[in-house]
Symmetry: C2
Subunit: 325 residues, 2 copies
């Protein structure tokens, strides 16, 4: 299948074509990269926009169950939902946070859902580009909502929030003492904090945790562009499918407000600019990753470490060699 | 004066030649840069090593008084002492933390002392290179101790610690509550924390503060290469010149231990390697700072922000243009 045909099928919403295109953007092969760029250029003309929702949560908080319940609710409203994962740890663990589709059994059977696990081999920079491009592909394939899932170590949240329209943080009910356990930086990214498992015996704890976080959020500086009450904390139960519609209402309300104020477009423009600059920087530094450059850095490094060559002089030699190449 | 002559005078310990050479490494002019690299290459062969001591402290802690008293004590022992400042804020404030030599009136009159304020115009990257090269010049000029002074915002401490053999943190006596005021990262860099102003009415408070920090330091992971008891907290009085000799003894003891274990040389080698890599990276990214590149980035950025060009495609265009240049 050539790029134009693949593009047309994606625009037609075909999930298999979408999956194939994501494999293309994930590939490290140079000819695949050329095709991917061509494809993305072709699809950019569609001008379709999804609602990009970043989602993070500590392990054990019930993230898969939440995504399944939340996704099923959206599909019930006639929406098309894509789920992508950003898992910077997968290169080490060999696993992936969304590798097991059986954890979202109902959702994965829906024709209006698309679930894509994170690739098993990638560094954070590569993950960022792949995810950003996968989002663009999902948008072209006319998905209404793209959920970008990640798992709480901070750096991956930053990456995800830089490519999302809004950010949800899923937390478990817990004593007030554990409030400190969530990194302040991650809390500051969240537009809506959802305290999950507000069901059965845990319900009172969930309510108290929600109140604690509401208080904590009031201490954070409110984003001037957002309406009163945001960022907010709410309770949900993914298992009992309770509170999910409220959460979706708040997401829609925040979205509408940002669209009306022009913040939505400004944010998308700023994100695109950011990724453009990041890619240029990354590519310039990638000149140091070729086998030849690494060997040369190593050899100069030996002299620098031995003290026979100053860091500045060695750097100059290296640069002359890189530029002359 | 040509570079060879300037080099010989520096090796001869002439302070005016040293001052002139530092002006050379601070210069942004391309011919000065060439001369500076030549000079540093020439001097590297001397293989002289000073004890490089990083020093930080919050404003008002009496840093100048401490440096003067500590420096005078070292000079009294027949040592030659250079003082350099790293002040990343000077570009904004227009001032410099060591601009006023009168604050070290006695020390500045000593023939075995050399005091150099931070240049008034510089960004942190430039400051790092200039300071690193100024240290190399002081070493060639046979100074026994090079004090590298900075002021507590975190980033500059990291820079200084990456070019120091050991790191002193000067603090004022204060209640236990204020212990949190010092960034944990800065505390973790310190080999010796000195509680200054342990004199007069403040003496009991200084002792208590010292005990607090000793406790806090015990909670930090000890550097496995260092002897029992390090990092440590001590009280000093720069005004009464009390405790300075003890502090110097501990500095010498730690130095000796690190020399014996081989950590000293390993650390210097690692630092040189770090600065080599930093310089290569900075120079690669500097390709984006030319007027032509900035104009091109701006133009491509317009299209990226408007959504008519994907970040990846724009980055590719930019790189092709940079490499073809």
């Amino acid at each position: 299948m050539n790029t134009a045909e693949l593009g047309d099928r994606i625009l037609n919403g075909e999930r298999r074509a979408l999956a194939r295109a994501i494999t293309l953007v994930e590939s490290g092969r140079e000819d695949h990269r050329t095709q991917a760029t061509e494809l993305l250029g072709h699809l950019a003309k569609s001008n379709r926009q999804s609602l990009r929702i970043g989602l993070s949560g500590t392990p054990g908080v019930g993230k898969s169950t939440f995504i399944e319940s939340f996704g099923m609710m959206l599909i019930g409203q006639g929406l098309r939902v894509a789920v992508l994962a950003v898992d910077p740890s997968s290169s080490r663990s060999g696993g992936s946070i969304l590798g097991d589709k059986t954890r979202m059994e109902r959702l994965s059977r829906e024709k209006n859902a698309f679930i894509r696990p994170s690739p098993s081999q990638s560094h954070l920079g590569g993950v960022a580009r792949r995810t950003r491009e996968a989002i663009a592909l999902c948008e072209a394939a006319a998905f209404d909502v793209v959920l970008i899932e990640t798992v709480g170590v901070g750096q991956s949240e930053t990456v995800v929030s830089e490519m999302s329209d809004l950010f949800l943080l899923l937390l478990a009910p817990a004593g007030g003492d554990e409030l400190q356990g969530v990194k302040r930086g991650i809390m500051e990214m969240a537009d809506i904090i959802l305290i999950n498992k507000a069901d059965g015996d845990l319900k009172p704890t969930a309510m108290r945790t929600c109140a604690d976080y509401s208080g904590a959020l009031r201490l954070l500086r409110r984003r001037p562009q957002d309406p009163e009450g945001f960022p907010m904390a709410m309770t949900v139960s993914a298992v009992e499918e309770h509170g999910l519609d409220d959460a979706w209402s708040q997401v829609q309300s925040l979205t509408q407000s940002r669209r009306d104020s022009g913040h939505w477009d400004a944010n998308r423009a700023a994100q695109a600019q950011y990724w453009f600059e990041q890619e240029v920087r990354a590519a310039l530094l990638a000149q140091l990753s070729t086998a030849q450059a690494r060997a040369e850095m190593e050899q100069l490094g030996d002299q620098v470490r031995a003290g026979s060559l100053s860091p500045s002089a060695a750097a100059e030699t290296m640069l002359t060699s890189l530029i002359a190449r």
